[in-house]
Symmetry: C2
Subunit: 434 residues, 2 copies
Amino acid sequence: MSSAPVRLSAASLRTTEQPINYFIQQALENPRLISLAAGLVDPLSLPADELAEATAHVLGRSDRARAALQYGTTHGYPPLRDKLLAHVAALDGVTPADLSLMADDVVLTTGSQQLLYLVSELLFDPGDIIITEAPSYFVYQSALNTFGVQTRTVPMDEDGMDTAALAALLARMERDGELSRLKLIYVCDYFQNPTGRTLSLPRRRHLLELAERYSKHQRIFILEDAAYRELRYDGVDVPSVKSLDRDNRHVLLAMTFSKPCAPGLKTGYGVLPRELIAPLLHLKGNHDFGSCNLTQHVLDRLLETGAYARHVEQLRHVYREKRDELLTALDAEFGLARQVGVRWTHPEGGLYVWLMFPPEMRTGPDSPLMRAALREGVLYVPGRFCYVGGNVPDHEARLSFGVVPREQIREAVRRLARAGHESSLRRCKASAPC
Amino acid sequence: MSSAPVRLSAASLRTTEQPINYFIQQALENPRLISLAAGLVDPLSLPADELAEATAHVLGRSDRARAALQYGTTHGYPPLRDKLLAHVAALDGVTPADLSLMADDVVLTTGSQQLLYLVSELLFDPGDIIITEAPSYFVYQSALNTFGVQTRTVPMDEDGMDTAALAALLARMERDGELSRLKLIYVCDYFQNPTGRTLSLPRRRHLLELAERYSKHQRIFILEDAAYRELRYDGVDVPSVKSLDRDNRHVLLAMTFSKPCAPGLKTGYGVLPRELIAPLLHLKGNHDFGSCNLTQHVLDRLLETGAYARHVEQLRHVYREKRDELLTALDAEFGLARQVGVRWTHPEGGLYVWLMFPPEMRTGPDSPLMRAALREGVLYVPGRFCYVGGNVPDHEARLSFGVVPREQIREAVRRLARAGHESSLRRCKASAPC
């Protein structure tokens, strides 16, 4: 029997377990936990009937069935790419031609996560630099670690990434000779995961202008993760950064069916500068030479009949009510705590509210608050998971209203408030005066 | 408008278009072509009704629908992993315990191609070495190029990879100090793509024994690509190399639903040494945090009802007839050519026959034979695509009986024979005496 050690690649050694797995485990082990942590979607509104109808349609006639069950292309089902191009343009009230786009600029992926991965593989060598919002989407950060990418961060406020701070960062990077390693700026610019914030229109313009201006050594791309765009519950829609990039040069738009339709279909899509399409497809050819073909045909049918649009409309009602319930519960349970500096965001869409305690109230996995929350039976994502580097804020929390039933939201927030009270009391006892 | 150049990663620059795309293009542009090139499956026997029934079952009850349409896990749907473990063990007539296996050693992937990719990402740094059969599966070779892996090859005969030659190669690599960079031996050991050959049992034992013996610096793994195993039409089944690896230490088994069921589901699976599971799932978490969940639930139902087993049984009949038709046509059209050294394999399963001309009859994309074949209206895969390095054989062809209708097989071979005759004549005229 061989006892030779396993030797993994450098990329694999740079890759660690997703921190979120800890929470999945907690939820599995303690079924009475109410999870405000999970990034799952509302289970009750999943479009099972619509998908059953569409699948029956696709599989019910032999020519359609054969096309859906045979190998597809690496690029994705052409009629679906046509529809998605029209869909994306319609969201911005423009035509594809206005944005110099055609259907070949659209690529289907295994969720938008695969697009994020492929874009990273396409652009990054170890030591290259990405700029992200702080806080940012933590699952993507894990992929960036695998590629050995250095992350520089830009603070956010209620209007999203602070592009004045971005401008200062870029100037500093130029001075320090780092600009040649900067390949990508990543923004989740609609109802951001984790904060729920949306990038304002003036900042969208500024962001694109900065990417153009600093593309001195090589093209600096913007990866616009618009996964939540279609889930707007109030306020006025804001154009995508993609729609401002009229020559299709700088912006890679990442979209998905996971949030507005069903994650189990695992179908996302990207709209990319034309020069990136062929090299990205060459990489994707290595990965899988095409994502699940059947679900692409089913989604094509869903778009064709209008069932998709109707479903998204219904979903907005469902999530609007859940968001309102969460904000109402936060007002009720944490209203007084505002006096000691507790705050939270009021997102106009998406699935997340960002809860900010005073700096001394730690929220991390080993914090008194987390221990109290687990005792009380509620789970949140510690804000520190959404930052990179050593000295990160540890007094924030992501609350998701995606998967939790509406009628449990109030109770979840009540438990969280009790946990906050408990851990504050303990802190006071340990270090009086409070 | 920015004119800064796009700068891609080193991995991307190592990645080129799949040569097969040329043939896809040819087939699209010339619809009267009969393609013996495409690696697609038989369209008429795709299990549309069975999949429609299974999907209706999954989506027809709300609890099942919610489970299938929500996010799944990175690892894959647990009941399906249970069934696949039992399935794989049953193919070898053993229990999972006999092989030190449990369901957590099974991972679901986006086709078996994604497993091949993930295993490569897991193990390889640029400059590392893989050993493959010559010829070998060309799509995987493209991924190996991306990772900057060096490929060493071992010749084959009718019993698959020549393990005596492998032993000599390993001894040479040890002498040359290269053994520390050898991570993986890749074999497609059932009805190989492209040759149709199957690795004999004594060689399976020898292969494993060599991997164990030479695991001196680090574990040398065997990637056993058994995509075609279930498509056996005659002869006696041979145990997997995996089943000989009783301590689950060396062999990574790659399986798929693409060939025995439907490629459009894009669902494959692997059975891996336990130590590799966690690091592989961390990588897969970056890629997509789980392959298509709906199709996993549908396939689970297909296995549960026995519809999968019944379908594979029917499929064997369909392909047996198509294989027989192809072999009969080759006998009829190329029988005389045996006298000048034309030969072909007689696979007991799978989708491919390997046609070998005398060395002076080139088959490459710019060869007289290929040009004549395109004029005649038939397409094959040039054998040279299945080799790596500079001075590769250029007188072989992969013929697939997967997608071509049975009634067109004879005509396809007739066209190929005419093309062979034409190009031989031209060669004779150009360089008499012939």
